[in-house]
Symmetry: C2
Subunit: 403 residues, 2 copies
């Protein structure tokens, strides 16, 4: 006889590492303390008014299902956006998804069997774990290190991990959580690995428009790997439209696209209003990102400068996205982050950061690291850094020897 | 060495049965033939202007992530809607999903292990198959028959199918594709089965507001089964807002809700604009559904009357939703539906219906049946029925003996 029970994957499913300290932040706020949120990638940048207006001015009488792959008009314009940044795709190689999340999940569903393995440089975006559990897939982490600024691990580290079950490498570029921007050489190295072992490269390029100095090399431009690459994309960060839930899966692999379409048909269509927003966003002037990029670069410079000026703190300069990883002179970053919310305040203020262990799959790694999202303006970042600086002076649990 | 391949579930995944004749419809249209679409549940009813206006008049500066369970303000008002129709839930027992689709999938993910079995009266909503394949779950159909008007199969038929692996019964009420409205007695029978065998009852009540005559008994009102019932809901049909992708998972089972929340966190949040639409819709006047219900009832009466007046056609009178299943005097409904689009026209018009075999899991069942969605107004339904009547006169492949 069966019993009313929760599934194994439901039990395995991790709670969100960036949300689990939320109750402590809420408590701090109840106590009248201002909390600077550097814990979550929710930008404060204005969603482009022209794109929002397109939704406001819609004249739909009936909000109908769209095509399961998304409106063709949107896909055609989105192909234009990609073409404009050197990615050669047409609208039939694009499927509109409910956020980048669904694009990642669909790529897992379509390409991987339960028990298959995917290699991901760690630390990595924690929700890859969740989608892997949903798909019954095993995440195999290949460690990158703060000492190398989170550069791509050497080929030999990948090769040591490749087995009969390995089907894909997942790469987020620029990286969340590290902010690392992979170089042209590193992308060539990756291409060679996926071609040699006939693997998929699932490329999450949610932050491509935010690179500071270096050039973004899209996985879609890797010559000879056209059939191996699946791009999972989103407008969430690009246009500060996280709540739209509007992403895309892009691939030149026809068999993958046909399979993904079947999963897309089961859920009928992606969100309707958000497609209007996304389509309008493709028509923004070509210099639209310049302002946002300059703003983020300023914030990065402020944040990284302040962090590295603190004793015992090390933060490699991230080349892209809006995240930085820092090692702190503390024994346990999770305890420290919790203590910041529960026991500390400076001028009635404190800050919230994401403890790094939630981004590592290997137990013990990143224990004294945190991720900071620079989604606040520079003056608020300054105040948050004032808090951090004071906190490190008084926090009792320091390591015997600074790392 | 691994190879670049498509997953087993990707291969198993069925193409949408209601969409696979689309290319033939497109061809007919290219040839200047008007096609009456009775094949798909896309209503022509106006989306409530007041709800659309709430989206149009939004003043959001930044379209932020919402809570993973959906905006609390929406959940509170949605609880009010449920309370108003006799379903006793509060906002913490509601999680907002991306369409009813996601609610169904989350309930599978949270409650079922790969290899577990779910029993579903057939014919059933074809996309249950897709979500079951994604979750690695086995669908076990329990046949209902057009001869009984698609009433709930007898208890003994369920009991024959229950094994150690059976974890849930899925029930769509009123039913898609049959339009059948389950009686109070049938719902009590179901409750007794799920309690006796300790099963989940996953109740899809997307069409609850469209019942013609009979009373809708929500699974959420089954006494003693509070912990067993998961309601999967959507505003798609209720407010003719299919493109919003706005649903809800409702349960009083705390453990299920906590688990579902973890899956919801992985995909961050449900669509933002659609939550505004859904929240505004909860504030429509209480007689809002009267007009729509009367309109659908007229259409049903027109459609069913015309069908049963045709020689060799039988269509039980559906008690709810906006679907009817009819048996036709043809050998193979799929061939007939294709022929209607490819080879037939009457006054330069034809109709598109959904062949029933796509809604059955048991091979061979429903071979001479079709599903008709009465999503067109009565004058269009009349014209579509004129086409069907003429078509049946000239279609060459009739059965040796009328069923």
């Amino acid at each position: 006889m069966s019993s009313l029970s929760i599934s194994q994957r439901g039990i395995q499913m991790p709670a969100s590492p960036i949300r689990k300290l939320v109750p402590f932040a809420e408590k701090a706020k109840e106590n009248g303390i201002h909390v600077y949120h550097l814990n979550i990638g929710q930008p404060d940048i204005e969603t482009p008014p022209a794109a929002m207006d397109a939704v406001r001015h819609n004249h739909m009488r009936v909000l109908e299902y769209s095509h399961s792959a998304g409106n063709e008009s949107y896909r055609r314009k989105l192909a234009g956006y990609y073409n404009g940044i050197g990615i050669d795709v047409n609208h039939e190689e694009i499927l509109i998804t409910t956020g980048g999340s669904e694009a990642i999940f669909f790529s897992f569903l379509a390409c991987l069997n339960p028990g298959d393995e995917i290699i991901i440089p760690e630390p990595f975006y924690a929700n890859y774990n969740g989608f892997a559990i949903e798909a019954g897939v095993k995440v195999v982490p290949v460690p990158s290190s703060i000492k190398d600024g989170f550069a791509l691990p050497p080929v030999s580290d990948f090769e040591k991990l490749i087995t009969d079950k390995t089907k894909a490498i997942v790469l987020c570029n620029p990286n969340n959580p590290t902010g690392y921007l992979y170089s042209a050489d590193e992308m060539t190295t990756l291409r060679d690995i996926i071609l040699k072992y006939n693997l998929y490269l699932m490329a999450d390029e949610a932050y491509r428009e935010f690179c500071y100095g270096g050039t973004h090399i899209s996985a879609m431009t890797l010559k000879g790997a056209e059939n191996n690459v699946i791009l999972t994309d989103t407008i969430s960060k690009r246009y500060s439209a996280c709540g739209a839930r509007m992403g895309a899966l892009v691939t030149k692999n026809k068999e993958v696209m046909e399979t993904v379409l079947k999963f897309a048909q089961a859920r009928l269509s992606p969100p309707g209003f958000a497609q209007i927003l996304g389509e309008a966003a493709t028509e923004l002037p070509s210099d639209y990102f310049d302002g946002t990029r300059a703003e983020y670069k300023n914030r990065r410079d402020t944040l990284v400068g302040r962090l590295n000026a603190m004793e015992g703190v090390y933060c490699p300069n991230p080349g892209g996205a809006f995240y930085a990883m820092a090692s702190l002179p503390v024994e346990d970053a999770e305890d420290f982050c919790k203590w910041l919310l529960e026991e500390f305040s400076y001028k009635n203020q404190t800050l919230m950061m994401a403890p790094a262990p939630g981004f590592y799959a290997t137990p013990g790694l990143g224990k004294n690291e945190v991720r900071l999202a620079y989604v606040l303006n520079t003056s608020e970042i300054e105040k948050a850094m004032d808090c951090l600086q004071e906190a490190l002076k008084v926090y009792p649990k320091k390591p015997a020897k600074l790392v």
